[in-house]
Amino acid sequence: MKILYPFLSIFVLIIVVFIGVHQADLHFLFGIIIPYVSILVFLIGMVLRVGYWASSPVPFRIPTTAGQGKTLPWIKQDKLESPSTLPQVLGRMALEILLFRSLFRNTKAELSESKLAYGSNKWLWLGGLAFHWTMLIIIVRHYRLFLEPVPGMIHLIESLDGFFEITLPTFYVTDALILICVSFLLLRRLLVPQIRYISLAADYFPLFLIFSIVISGILMRYVLKTDVVKIKMLIGGLLSFQFQVPEGIGTMFYVHLFLVCVLGIYFPFSKLVHMGGVFLSPTRNLANNNREKRHINPWNPKVKIRSYPEYESEFREKMIDAEIPLEEEKNE
C-alpha cells in the first residue's frame, strides 16, 4: 500500500494528461491554467509554511556541538563543529547545506561475535549529494527556456554538462547522473529492510514523481525530439501573461510539465519543505555561545520556587544544631 498507491497515483496522473491533451484537446488547461495554479500554490504554500514556522519563537539555544567549544584561549576551538560567532555558524551551515556535512558522518553498525563495529557508510551521502546537485544544475539549465537571449553563465554550465558529445542533441552528464541517483535512492528504500520499514507513502511519492519527470524529460529530448522553439514560445507567453498555446507541441511535453506542476503543488505540504528546515534547524543555525550571551525566551514562564526563607523556616532548628549559619537578622 505504501508503495503501490504512490506508484498508481503517478500512473493515473500521466494517463490524465494523455487523455486531457491527446483526446480532449485541453491544451489551454494543461499549458496555461495548471502551471499558473501550480506556481501560485507553491508560492503561497511556502509563504504560509514559513510563516507558520516563523510565528513561533525558538525558546532555547540548543546547538548540537560536534567538536570542542570556545573556552580557554589555549584550547583549540573547532569552529565549524562548535561555532561561537555568526561567521562560524554560517560556515557550519554552508557545510551542511552545500556538502551535507552531518550525513557525511554516517556509519553502519554491525554486530558480530558479540562485538559492535561501526563501518564507514558514505553511499547515502554520495547519492544524496549527487542527486541534489544534479537537480540544481538541471533546474538552472532549464533557464535557457525562460530567458532570451540565453545568459553566458547558462551556456557555460551547458557546455560543461554536455562535455561528452556522444549523442545529438548533446548528451548531458546530469541526465545520466540523476537517473542513477534517483534509482539508487529508490532501490535503497525498497531493498534495505530498515529503510523500507520506516518509509511512508509520502517517501515513495516524491521519488516516483521525480523519476517520472526525469524520464519524460529524457524521452522528450533524446527520443521524441520535441520542438524547443515552440516550448520557448509557450513559456515566453506564460511569463508575459499572454495566454496562447502554440500548435504542435508533443504530448510528452505536457506530461513533463504537468508532473512538474504536481511537484510544485505537492511541495509545500510535504517533507520536501526540508529545504527550508535545513536553514532553520536550531541545532545547526545557532552559535554555541550560551554562557557568553543570554538567549531570550519571549514566553519565559513565571514559576513559583521554594525560596530560601521557606526552606530556612522548615529546617531552622536543625540548622542551628548543626551550626549552619542562618540569615543574619533572624539570628539574634
Partner: protein
C-alpha cells in the same frame, strides 16, 4: 544482580538473535500494528500520589504502568491535543523538527537503545514518528484527509502507553542529532512527550520523587541540612585518614567569593564521594575562598527530565542562593544533564544574573570569557586552567595502578562542546590513558544507557541493553590495553556505569575526573601516601627518576 535482568549470557543471546534489524531479520508487522508489552525490567514504577501532590502536579493517584486502566482524566485526549498545540506554538524548534524529517534513515542505527535491543521503535526516526503520526492527524491537512496512508493515526490509550514505553527508552542523549542531515534532535520529541504525559499524570516515580525532594530539601535524596553537612564532614575525615591533611569546607557562608554546586550524588554515592574528596583537596590546595550551600545542594536537575517549568523551578535555586550569599560567581562540579541545564537553559530561564560578577579565577587571574553572562564555570575548565598555569603540584604516578579510559558524557560533549579539558587534565594526573574506538567517543559518544532519570533497579533489562554499546567499547580497551578504570565527568554516569561495568565488563571500575586529580595532588603537610582516596594501595613509586616532584 537485579532480578529485573537476565544473565549476561542470555541478554547477549537475546540481543544477537532476537534483535530484528541487527540480526538481519525484518519484523513481521509494520510498527503501527505492533503492540507493546510490559514485562519485568522494561518499565518503571509510576509516580506516587504523595510525590505528585507535593509538586502540585496533575492527576495524583495510585497506579502502575502495567495496570490495564491508567485512571486518566476523562478529557485526557483533549489535554494532550491542547498541550501539543501549545508546545508547537511556543517552539519553532518542534515545528521544524516535525516537518523536516525525510526518513533518510541516517539516524536509525545511531541510538544505543536500538543497538542494544534491535527494537525498530528505538530507531530515533520511529521514536519521532510515534508523535509525528499524531501531529499529522491533528495538525496537517494530509493527515486529516489521508489518515494512515499519510502516516497519521488517532491518539488512543494504546498510543499513550507506547509513548510511555519508548519515551522512557530515550535518554535524551542527542547522539542521533549529530548524524541527522537536518540536525533533528529526538531529545526534543522526548521532552515534548514526557511533558504531555506529565500533564495527564503519566510519569515515573524515579524522576518525580527526586524532583520533589530536591524542591523541598535542596537535593535528590531529600537529605536535610544537618545531615548534608555531616556527610561532607565524614568525607573530610576520610581525606584526613588518607592524606593527613584537614580540609575545611564551609556551609552557607555569606561573603565567600565562590559558591560551589555539585550533584548531590557526589556527597553520598559510591564512587561519587571520591570525586567530592578530590574537589575538597583541590580547593584546599589552592586556598580557594568558597562555600557550599545546603539549600542549593543539588547540581542535578531531575525536573529537566519532565518539563521546562519543573526544570526552571529547581534550577532557580542556584541564582537565588548565589544572590543571597553575595558570592562573585558559581563553580559547578562534574555532571552531565546539570551542565546541559546550566549551559543551555539557566541564563534563559532564570537569568540575567546581574548580581554576580564575570568569573575570574582568583588563583591564575584567567577570565572565563565563555561564561561571561551565565557566570558559572565548569570545574574541568577551572582545573585545566590551574594546571596550564602550573598552579598545582601533581604526581601522576600516584595513579599508576590505574589504566584509564575516558567516557565522554552526552551533555558536556554534545551540548557544551567540552572535549579537550577533561582529556588535558587526565593526561596530567595519570600516566596510563587510552581512548576507546573512534566512533564511540567525543561527539559520537555512547550514553551510559540510564541517563535522563532512568537509573532505577526495576528498569535493569532496558538499562543493560541501552548501555551495551558503551560497555562494548570499554570491553575493547579492557581486552586490548588492560584498562581498569572508566573515568567520566557525570554524576549519573558514576552510578550507572558502575552497574553497567559490573554486568558487562567486570574488572573495570568507575571514577570521576577529580578523584584522579585528588590522588595526584601533592598537598602541603601531607603524610606519605600509601593509599588512594578509595583506600586502595598505591603502586610502589620508584623515587629515583623525578626527585623534584
Amino acid at each position: 544482580m537485579s532480578k529485573y535482568v537476565p544473565t549476561r549470557k542470555n541478554l547477549l543471546k537475546s540481543i544477537e538473535e532476537e534483535s530484528n534489524f541487527l540480526s538481519g531479520l525484518t519484523p513481521e508487522k509494520e510498527w503501527l500494528d505492533t503492540p507493546i508489552s510490559f514485562r519485568p525490567g522494561n518499565w518503571c514504577h509510576g509516580g506516587k500520589p504523595q510525590v505528585i501532590e507535593s509538586l502540585d502536579a496533575p492527576n495524583p493517584r495510585k497506579w502502575s504502568p502495567n495496570d490495564k486502566d491508567w485512571q486518566l482524566p476523562a478529557n485526557w485526549q483533549k489535554i494532550i491535543h491542547q498541550g501539543m498545540k501549545d508546545q508547537l506554538d511556543k517552539s519553532r524548534t518542534l515545528k521544524i523538527f516535525m516537518d523536516t524529517c525525510v526518513r533518510c534513515g541516517a539516524c536509525a542505527d545511531k541510538c544505543h537503545f536500538f543497538l542494544g535491543s534491535g527494537d525498530p521503535k528505538n530507531m530515533p526516526v520511529l521514536r519521532q514518528e510515534l508523535i509525528r503520526s499524531i501531529y499529522r492527524k491533528d495538525f496537517t491537512l494530509g493527515g486529516k484527509l489521508l489518515g494512515r496512508l499519510a502516516g497519521a493515526r488517532e491518539m488512543t490509550e494504546d498510543v499513550l502507553k507506547e509513548w510511555f514505553m519508548y519515551f522512557h527508552q530515550c535518554t535524551e542523549c542527542r547522539r542521533c542529532s549529530v548524524f541527522c542531515p537536518f540536525g533533528i534532535d529526538t531529545a526534543e520529541f522526548t521532552s515534548m512527550a514526557r511533558e504531555l504525559m506529565h500533564s495527564v499524570g503519566v510519569n515515573i516515580n524515579w524522576i518525580m520523587e527526586p524532583a520533589s525532594n530536591c524542591n523541598r530539601t535542596g537535593n535528590h535524596l531529600g537529605i536535610e541540612p544537618h545531615t548534608f553537612k555531616q556527610m561532607v564532614e565524614s568525607l573530610v575525615e576520610d581525606i584526613e585518614d588518607v592524606t593527613g591533611v584537614t580540609v575545611e569546607p564551609t556551609f552557607n557562608r555569606k561573603g565567600a567569593e565562590i559558591l560551589f554546586i555539585t550533584p548531590s550524588g557526589d556527597i553520598f554515592a559510591d564512587p561519587g564521594v571520591y570525586t567530592m574528596m578530590g574537589y575538597l583537596l583541590l580547593f584546599h590546595h589552592i586556598g580557594l575562598d568558597y562555600t557550599i550551600s545546603t539549600y542549593a545542594s543539588e547540581g542535578g536537575n531531575f525536573g529537566s527530565f519532565v518539563s521546562h517549568d519543573l526544570t526552571k523551578k529547581l534550577n532557580a535555586k542556584m541564582y537565588h542562593e548565589a544572590e543571597r550569599l553575595g558570592v562573585k560567581w558559581i563553580l559547578g562540579g562534574e555532571c552531565g544533564h546539570m551542565w546541559r541545564v546550566i549551559h543551555q537553559y539557566m541564563d534563559t530561564m532564570n537569568g540575567p544574573a546581574d548580581f554576580l560578577e564575570e568569573p575570574v579565577s582568583p588563583i591564575t587571574g584567567t577570565k572565563f570569557e565563555n561564561a561571561r553572562s551565565t557566570k558559572m564555570v565548569h570545574i574541568a575548565e577551572f582545573t585545566a586552567d590551574l594546571i596550564k598555569n602550573d598552579r598545582l603540584k601533581l604526581d601522576p604516578r600516584r595513579n599508576n595502578h590505574r589504566t584509564v579510559t575516558f567516557h565522554d558524557s552526552c551533555n558536556p560533549v554534545r551540548a557544551m562542546g567540552m572535549v579537550e579539558e577533561p582529556r588535558y587534565i587526565l593526561k596530567n594526573v595519570c600516566n596510563n590513558f587510552h581512548e576507546m574506538p573512534e566512533n564511540t567517543i567525543r561527539e559520537q559518544t555512547f550514553c551510559c544507557g540510564s541517563g535522563s532519570g532512568l537509573n532505577t533497579n526495576e528498569y535493569m533489562d532496558i538499562r543493560m541493553r541501552g548501555g551495551f554499546p558503551r560497555a562494548n567499547a570499554v570491553k575493547h580497551v579492557h581486552d586490548k590495553h588492560k584498562v581498569n578504570l572508566l573515568t567520566a565527568i557525570c554524576a549519573i554516569d558514576r552510578v550507572t556505569l558502575k552497574t553497567l561495568m559490573e554486568y558487562w565488563v567486570p574488572g573495570v571500575e568507575v571514577s570521576g575526573l577529580h578523584e584522579l586529580v585528588g590522588n595526584a595532588l601533592v598537598m602541603e603537610g601531607e603524610s606519605e601516601r600509601t593509599e588512594d582516596l578509595r583506600e586502595d594501595p598505591l603502586e610502589e613509586i620508584e623515587e629515583d627518576e623525578d626527585e623534584d616532584i
